[in-house]
Amino acid sequence: MEIIVENLTKDYGQFRALDHISLHITGGMFGLLGPNGAGKTTLMRILATLLLPTSGRVEIGGFDVLRQGSSIRQRLGYLPQEFGFYPGLKAFELLEYIAILKNVPPKQRKAQVEAVLAEVNLLEQAQRKVGTFSGGMRQRLGIAQALLGNPELLIVDEPTAGLDPEERIRFRNLLVGLSKRSTVLLSTHIVADVEFCNGLAVLEQGKVVFIGSPSELANRARHAVWQVKVPMEQWSEVERRYTVLATQMTNGMVQARLLASDRPLADAQPLSPRLEDGYVAVIQNHQKQREESYA
């Protein structure tokens, strides 16, 4: 499902949450990456028809988000960052209720509810009250409700936050699987979550600072990632001068992964960049540009 975002701006009073954003998403799994407060959730909520833009145009599958919200909702599955369900209902009852709200035809309703429960591995818990679910189960149930009605667009906001590593991997795999039949829009501040996206955008302070593939993002840090090994007493100076991506202590020495445009130390070894390095490079670059423009 094609998503076109043009010059999208959203203001909350004096605060500009989104600043003339433009995106073109053609399908598959698309990631929105950015630090907290970058505007990801605001963008997601506009795409999910929950918020009105201040200006700009958003079109989803040919439907205008402002005028044709109902048509979009008919094709949408949404899982917000913070959500819950009525704890007194059983999982099956809850999904059946939602299936009716989402206009799932009566004949398909039961089968579809069972199918999504199976898909998120909750079929055995179908008769359990939602209030007794663990965080991971609740998250999966959240995806299950979003999948009801076979949506063409699935919007998931920070879906892996708070999950343990095993759950996170399972969840990521589930989304990858879903992206084969629907457009999946994933928002996260965890870089590893977008590794499997076809495309991604990085948002920083309401602006899109990068659009491309994960490998293109990683490439933004090409020739700028170094490994250094310094004694403990020199470490504070290194840490002050360079952006540290990772550190490790070995025999009184600090082995670190740094971001630097030039070789930081004589014995520094160049490394091939990872996605996370690219992300940090993009964010830093943007911050630097902003500081320069202020100056």
């Binding site: 909520r45 999910a48 028809t49 929950l50 009105l52 402002l66 005028r67 919200g69 109902s70 909702r73 008919q74 949408l76 949404y78 899982l79 917000p80 913070e82 959500f83 819950g84 369900f85 009525y86 704890p87 007194g88 209902l89 209720y97 939602i98 009716i100 709200l101 989402k102 206009n103 009566p106 959240g142 409700q145 979003a146």
Partner: protein, 666 residues
């Protein structure tokens, strides 16, 4: 599309209903609710089932459900937000039907709270009264619940509820509970704001809602309009929030709702203006009245019950020392005189009659008057418009005070009563209404008696007239059973008391057990041979009830043997009043101890020992009774009534000696 919408409405309704009713608080609330009604009403309020539903039980139910409704609506509205489901829910392809379904679930949940009051009323009976009352109660309560629920939903949808939201709702409830009552004395139409119907009772056991005219309809129409307005408001809020557009259906409904509410409210307030205007009529005459009407023959023709026709023959006596050519009588201004044997000029509440030949002093003449008109006299009482006197195809309620027959009124006085006269009232072409009066029936639709000083005529399909021993019971069918018990009490008391008033020539007793709606007459003098008691059936403890019986019978018998008793309000109590009180006290003791002098004295002494002031007048009566029995007391009573003027002047402390002196004379 409609089918899918209906499915969504239904599933929202079902789910919300389940979430509300399967919460442990809900059955607990029902248990407390039932216990409250049981505690407050069972054995403590002997109104009929319909009267309970229309007054005490009904008002409490509607008032409290309004409060519960505001909170329950708040709980329901905030549910999605509380459980963080709102954001997900709002991305579903739904519209107003989901909110509508949830609103309906709260409505049904609240309606289920009507079961307990209905059970209480059914337990009270009679069944016919319950059956008649159920639909009106359900409608009134349902409308209030629907309105309150919709109002809360509309307000809370507009602004998401926080914890303080409940406090605001409670404050709104309290303001609307107390505000209209506080305002009603200065601005009676404020009762329109009383959506909980507190203090507003549109019901009488005898006339149903007839005495409130169309006011209940306008009241309900106003709230139906407001309910529709709130519903449309909810629709509009959802439409703007979900579809970023105005709902044409909602706008249409808002227009209709505003028209209905405006119409209902205007007519309701208009009812007050009309009643206030009626009350501004000038009812005093500043000229002396030189005539007395010594006989009335009144024929009320109900061929057209909305515009009854009266044919009245008056026996007019000239009290003046001069020849009389012209005199003035009072007649309700709604009547127009159609025919007369004298020249008549009708001016407001007064008719001037010009005789064709002068009437000599002490001479009588017959005056014939025919008049007709639609009579409906309204009053404002406790913030509602109440019809005190009316003639309607569905019922009649007429008191002398509205001058539905001509009255010779003394200078500057309003006439609730007139000089005792021979009175005959015949009702022709009665449309089948059971009819009764405070004067004895001498035939079908015919009432007549001597010495009649007021006429209270009542008619209603619900009216029952039953003879129980020497008591003519006049009451509403719903009150028949307690009325019968009261009649038996009165019959027994009458037999016990009459021997002390041998000159009263008692032929029977007329007992009118009516609701207090429209106002019970304050002073009900007897017709010749018939004490008249007008009372309500409610709330008296056995002791006060027996005292009430004694006092009401004794005062009428006192009057029938020529005694006089004035209202003690705003004047000093005289020894005559104390003499009457002593007689009532004696009769109470006499009835309690069934005339056993020893026991009466013992009881009297017990009362004195309990620290109360010794009633020496009563003590004197008891001593005389011990010596001379009933005839001695009857003599004292007779002397008391004959020597009223002497007693009025007598110092209080001389009264026991006076009583003893009369007893000794014998």
């Amino acid at each position: 599309m409609l089918k899918a919408m209906f499915s969504r409405f239904l599933v929202s309704f079902r789910t919300e209903l389940r979430l509300l009713t399967l919460n442990w608080l809900y059955p607990l609330l029902h248990v407390l609710w039932g216990a409250l009604f049981f505690q407050l009403f069972i054995g403590k309020d002997n109104r009929s089932a319909q009267a309970l539903l229309e007054t005490t039980v009904g008002r409490l139910t509607i008032g409290l459900i309004s409060l519960i409704g505001l909170f329950m609506a708040g709980v329901s509205i905030s549910r999605s937000k509380r459980f963080q489901f709102q954001e997900i829910e709002e991305t579903y392809p739904t519209g107003f039907e989901v909110i509508g379904g949830r609103w309906m679930a709260v409505f049904v949940t609240l309606i289920l709270f009507l079961i307990e009051p209905l059970v209480i009323a059914a337990y009270q009976g009679p069944l016919t009264s319950w059956v008649e009352g159920v639909s009106v109660f359900l409608f009134d309560a349902g409308l209030t619940i629907a309105f309150v629920n919709a109002l809360a939903w509309m307000l809370l949808l507009r602004r998401n509820i926080d914890r303080w939201g409940y406090l605001i709702l409670a404050a709104v409830w309290l303001a609307f509970l107390l505000g209209p009552s506080m305002l009603s004395s200065h601005f009676p139409p404020a009762s329109l704001l009383n959506f909980m119907r507190q203090g507003v009772s549109f019901y009488s056991d005898v006339w149903g809602r007839l005495i409130y005219g169309t006011q209940p309809i306008w009241f309900n129409l106003f709230y139906f309009g407001l309910f529709l307005f709130c519903l449309a408001g909810m629709m509009q809020i959802v439409s703007v929030r979900r579809f970023h557009s105005t709902s044409k259906i909602a706008i249409g409904l808002i227009v209709i709702a505003s028209i209905l509410a405006g119409w209902g409210g205007t007519r309701y307030v208009g009812g007050f203006q009309k009643a206030s205007f009626q009350n501004r009529n000038e009812l005093t005459l500043n000229e002396p009245v030189h005539v007395r009407i010594t006989g009335y023959q009144v024929v009320m023709d109900l061929a057209n019950p909305r515009i009854p026709h009266f044919h009245v023959v008056l026996e007019v006596l000239n009290l003046w020392e001069n020849n009389l050519e012209q005199f003035t009588l009072r007649l309700n201004p709604v009547f127009s005189v159609t025919r007369s044997n004298v020249e008549v000029k009708h001016d407001g509440d007064w008719i001037d009659l010009h005789l064709s030949r002068p009437l000599a002093p002490g001479e009588s003449t017959l005056v014939i008057l025919e008049y007709e008109g639609a009579l409906r006299v309204e009053n404002i009482s406790d913030g509602v418009v109440e019809t005190t006197d009316f003639i309607d195809p569905q019922g009649i309620r007429l008191t002398t005070g509205v001058a539905w027959y001509p009255l010779a009124v003394s200078n500057g006085q309003l006439a609730d009563h007139h000089e005792p006269a021979r009175f005959s009232l015949h009702i022709e072409n009665n449309p089948g209404l059971p009819v009764a009066a405070n004067i004895p029936a001498v035939g079908e639709n015919h009432f007549a008696a001597e010495q009649v000083s007021w006429v209270f005529l009542v008619a209603s399909p619900r009216l029952v007239v039953e003879q129980i021993d020497d008591v003519t019971l006049i009451t509403a069918s719903a009150d028949l059973q307690p009325g019968r018990e009261m009649a038996v009490d009165y019959s027994r008391a009458l037999r016990a008391i009459v021997p002390f008033f041998p000159n009263a020539n008692v032929k029977g007793l007329i007992l009118m057990v009516l609701g207090e709606e429209g106002g019970l007459p304050a002073y009900t003098p007897p017709a010749e041979g018939y004490p008249v008691i007008v009372t309500q059936r409610y709330v008296k403890t056995p002791n006060t009830w027996q005292s009430f019986i004694t006092r009401t019978i004794a005062s009428d018998l006192w009057f029938m043997i020529g005694g006089r008793l004035e209202d003690t309000y705003n004047r000093p109590v005289t020894s005559l009043d104390q003499a009457f009180e002593a007689v009532v006290g004696f009769l109470n003791l006499y009835r309690t101890e069934q005339g056993n002098a020893e026991k009466m004295l013992t009881r009297f002494q017990n009362i004195n020992e309990s620290g109360m002031v010794v009633n020496e007048n009563l003590q004197a009566l008891l001593e005389i009774y011990q010596q001379g029995g009933e005839p001695a007391i009857a003599t004292i009573v007779w002397e008391m009534t004959r020597k009223s003027a002497e007693l009025e002047e007598l110092p209080y402390d001389a009264l026991p000696a006076w009583i003893r002196s009369i007893g000794t004379i014998r």
